[in-house]
């Protein structure tokens, strides 16, 4: 027996082999699960899995009847991509895909089960598309096989109800057409640039010019169509957005160039035209990048299971999909399963964890006849409930019908570029008219030339690129720091925030550890040893937490150990008997505040004391609050007031703390202060925050595991980077400054070009040089600047 904890690491998953070490095939494993996966791999010639990465695996989770609903043909068919007599194809989302080993083993599933004829991984989306022979393996067996090697798929109601979405590739087509035409027109325009009055050129220039005209028609009318539509919509709404001068520029360019070619007046500006559209679309493409493995639009459907067990009148169990649940049905909910509908508890007792739904940190004890709300997780065995309302009628799903979820925050916010474009358009038109008037007076033949030249050169290509490239790069930089934003508009909205609201449970507290303190009589060495070993044998999360906080003691084999569900632990060694658990179990009368989590200990006949477990706040929380002192801070919690004093100590004086808030109250609070003119950033984590997240100007979810469900929001922040919150906010302000600087840079190009235009000297060559030059220098400037300001986050 050693006194030190084992320090070898598991060959399969890389965790420390703390609790036990299993030796197999000369390698150490932290648990039986990992060893089993290794066995599966080595027996099937899949040991290459370990070659690509160190410890790439993960412990397979325990699932018993979880996937029985896949036996139901109706449900299974709806999940499949393709289904015929021989083959079936399914796309499964596997959150655990994280490295090249994962890709390798999932594409070699054929070795584990020969009925799998093919599988392909989409790593950014974390999905695998499996083709299999449905006669020899069923969907359920496939899913169980994946789970047994540590790659359990996540199947939720969302997969079942929404079906397949068609991928929108229109932008790529438009970009392809524009790029193709741009390249060809560039080459076709070279002869006229380089050889101005050569004999053969004079004879053939018309061929080149007409070819250029033909190539540019699809670019203007197909690739550039969106700009016309958007400009038209903006004008109709009496707004001058940035697409108005762009559409104006494209029109003038095309009309003038076509006129020049048809009437043989010149060679036209087709290369500038197609180059302009190409760069603009490139900007749009760059801005559109998104994190395909995350979804910012999840509603309750992604959290709920597809099917549930119903008890028929003949006392038989059947699996039905949750939309088929009717009022009066009896449902069987197992340990760790979700309650999908509002209902009444039929069984004697239940322990429901509502932390995700209402924010209450402690699981709630319910007795027969109590009403249970949808979204809670059952935590202590199997219970039976009688349904009160269907899925759509439940309290939780009603929340989603609130109009807060339908508002489009992007349309409501006027971005920096849109506000500048108004003034820009007016300025350009003024300059054009003034210059034309001047030339009409001096030399009328040049007037039309000058008018069109001004509109062409002032086309805000560079301005339209500044914002997409800056914000697109910022999104990428934030993503590397595990702060995933829904789109670039969120960055602009973040700069205007005046009030920050925090949820408590799960947002500023972490359920990974608690602060544990012991109050009571001191224990002698042998008693501590007994306590240590009794806790070691228990699987209850509270036991594990207390066990880890105790100093290491010698391991002994207990004479007797018994765990009573929902009550506590009974153990004995030599002459000592120990009882650990709730106060009633231990024999002490309950007279402490109900608000704290306590675990009582008694040895023999004597009551010894109790452990208090308090919410552990995330590390760096008080620093975060201090750094955010410029904004108003609010705490909205669904939990009780037990933590009020501790929180008040961490927060500045004028911060508001409100407790016992239900989801609707949180939403109303946000609405109230928005009406007073505040711009709100809401930080939340669970379904209970969903309404407030949708209503606020920016809603950010803090997640300990981004692969797991999080409600609809504008951004997801990984909990490990919570302390960088104020840095993120200050960087967004710097990003806006970068945009402003690049706007100044592009104005300089515009002024240079305007000089040529106003004096009537605008040759196609000059336009062809200025436009790509300005675009490329803006892109380089914004990329370098954003990378520099991004370094300050590290």
């Amino acid at each position: 027996m050693s006194n030190k904890k084992e320090h070898s690491t598991c060959y399969h998953c890389g965790d420390k082999c703390d609790v036990e070490t299993i030796q197999y095939d000369e390698k150490s494993f932290c648990c039986n699960g990992c060893k089993t996966v290794y066995q599966i791999f080595s027996e099937n010639d899949l040991t290459c899995y370990y070659d690509f990465q160190n410890a790439p695996g993960s412990t397979p989770s325990e699932i018993s009847d979880k996937y029985d609903f896949l036996d139901n043909q109706e449900i299974a068919t709806k999940l499949l991509d393709f289904n015929d007599d021989k083959h079936q194809i399914i796309t499964l989302y596997i959150p655990n895909i994280h490295c090249s080993s994962c890709i390798w083993v999932l594409e070699n599933l054929n070795k584990l089960n020969a009925s799998v004829t093919g599988s392909q991984v989409n790593f950014p989306k974390k999905t695998v598309r499996i083709t299999y022979l449905n006669n020899s393996v069923s969907l359920k067996q496939l899913v169980l096989m994946l789970s047994s090697i540590g790659y359990e798929p996540y199947i939720s109601l969302e997969d079942y109800s929404s079906g397949k979405k068609a991928i929108d590739r229109k932008l790529i087509y438009k970009l392809g057409v524009a790029g193709f035409a741009f390249g060809n027109i560039m080459f076709l325009s070279f002869p006229e640039y380089f050889e101005v009055s050569e004999f053969w050129l004079e004879r053939y220039k018309h061929v080149f010019r007409w070819l250029m005209l033909v190539f540019s028609i699809p670019v203007v009318f197909y690739s550039g169509w969106d700009y016309f539509v958007s400009a038209f919509k903006g004008l109709r709404a009496k707004m001058l957005n940035i697409d108005v001068p762009i559409a104006l520029g494209i029109t003038v360019l095309f009309v003038r160039s076509s006129a020049e070619v048809i009437l043989d007046l010149g060679s036209g500006f087709f290369d500038s035209l197609t180059g302009l559209i190409f760069f603009l679309l490139l900007g749009k493409f760059f801005q559109q990048r998104t994190y395909s493995f995350l979804s910012f639009e999840r509603d309750y459907k992604s959290y709920f299971p597809i099917a549930v067990t119903r008890i028929t009148s003949e006392k038989k169990e059947e699996t039905i999909q949750i939309y088929d649940i009717k009022k009066g049905d009896r449902l069987l909910i197992r340990n760790m399963e979700l309650i999908p509908v509002d209902g009444i508890l039929i069984s004697n007792k239940a322990l429901i964890d509502y932390s995700f739904v209402t924010g209450e940190a402690e699981a709630v004890k319910k007795i027969s006849g109590d009403k249970l709300f949808a979204g809670g997780k059952q935590k202590s065995g199997v219970i039976e409930i009688e349904v009160l309302s269907s899925v759509e009628q439940s309290y939780l799903t009603q929340l989603w019908s609130n109009e807060a979820f339908k508002d489009d925050k992007v349309k409501a916010y006027q971005s920096l570029i849109d506000s500048i474009s108004k003034r820009f358009t007016v300025a350009v038109l003024t300059i054009a008219f003034v210059a034309t008037a001047y030339w009409l007076y001096v030399d009328a033949s040049k007037a039309l030339n000058v008018f069109t030249a001004v509109l062409i050169i002032a086309c805000p290509c560079a301005i339209a690129l500044a914002s997409p490239f800056t914000l697109g790069n910022m999104l990428r930089i934030f993503g590397k720091q595990k702060f995933y934003l829904k789109n670039s508009n969120v960055i602009e909205r973040l700069t205007k925030i005046s009030t920050i609201i925090f949820d408590k449970t799960g947002t500023i507290t972490t359920n990974k550890k608690s602060e544990i303190s012991y109050k009571g009589d001191a224990l002698i060495d042998s008693e501590e040893q007994l306590l240590y070993n009794a806790l070691r044998a228990s699987n209850h999360p509270l036991s594990r937490q207390i066990y880890e906080s105790l100093p290491v003691k010698e391991t002994i084999v207990l004479d007797q150990f018994e765990e009573v569900l929902g009550k506590g632990i009974n153990a004995s060694f030599s002459t000592k008997v120990i009882k650990i658990g709730s106060s009633s179990f231990v024999g002490k009368r309950e007279n402490l505040q109900d608000l704290l989590t306590t675990v009582h200990v008694s040895i023999g006949e004597n009551y010894k004391g109790y452990f208090v477990l308090k919410n552990a706040y995330r590390s760096g929380l008080s620093e975060v609050f201090k750094e955010l002192k410029d904004s108003k801070l609010v705490i909205l919690s669904g939990d009780n007031e037990g933590e009020k004093e501790r929180l008040s100590a961490l927060l500045p004086k004028n911060a508001k703390l409100l407790f016992n808030q239900n989801p609707q109250q949180k939403l109303d609070f946000v609405k109230e202060i928005q009406e007073k003119g505040e711009k709100v950033l809401m930080m939340g984590d669970g379904l209970n925050d969903a309404g407030a997240l949708a209503q606020s100007d920016v809603g950010v979810v803090i997640s300990e595991n981004i692969n797991v469900f999080s409600p609809a929001c504008d951004g997801i922040l990984d909990a490990t980077n919570f302390k960088k919150l104020s840095k993120y906010l200050s960087v967004t302000k710097k990003a806006i400054n970068v945009i402003k600087w690049s706007l100044i840079l592009s104005f300089m190009y515009n002024i240079t070009g305007l000089y040529f235009a106003v004096t009537g000297q605008l040759e196609p060559v000059i336009a062809a040089i200025l436009m790509p030059l300005s675009s490329i220098s803006i892109v380089i400037f914004t990329t370098i600047s954003t990378n520099v300001i991004g370094r300050s986050i590290k």
Binding site: S100, F123, V207
Partner: protein, 63 residues
């Protein structure tokens, strides 16, 4: 110099051919995932004699 007509025609046709192939491959979804193929090509191909290898290793173990 009339050859320029032929040259232009041929080059435009070749260019359009590649453009059409690009459109078709985008439509088929080849460009939807631009990351995984870069990892996939680094995996080693397995020789199809696997089955025989398994048999031989089994017999070796028995000995």
């Amino acid at each position: 110099m009339n050859i320029i007509y032929l040259l232009l025609t041929v080059s435009v046709i070749v260019a359009i051919f590649f453009f059409v192939i690009f459109i078709l491959s985008v439509k088929k979804g080849q460009f939807d995932d631009v990351y995984t193929p870069s990892v996939r090509m680094l995996f080693e191909d397995e020789i199809i004699k696997k089955v025989e290898n398994k048999n031989t290793t089994n017999t070796e173990k028995q000995i």
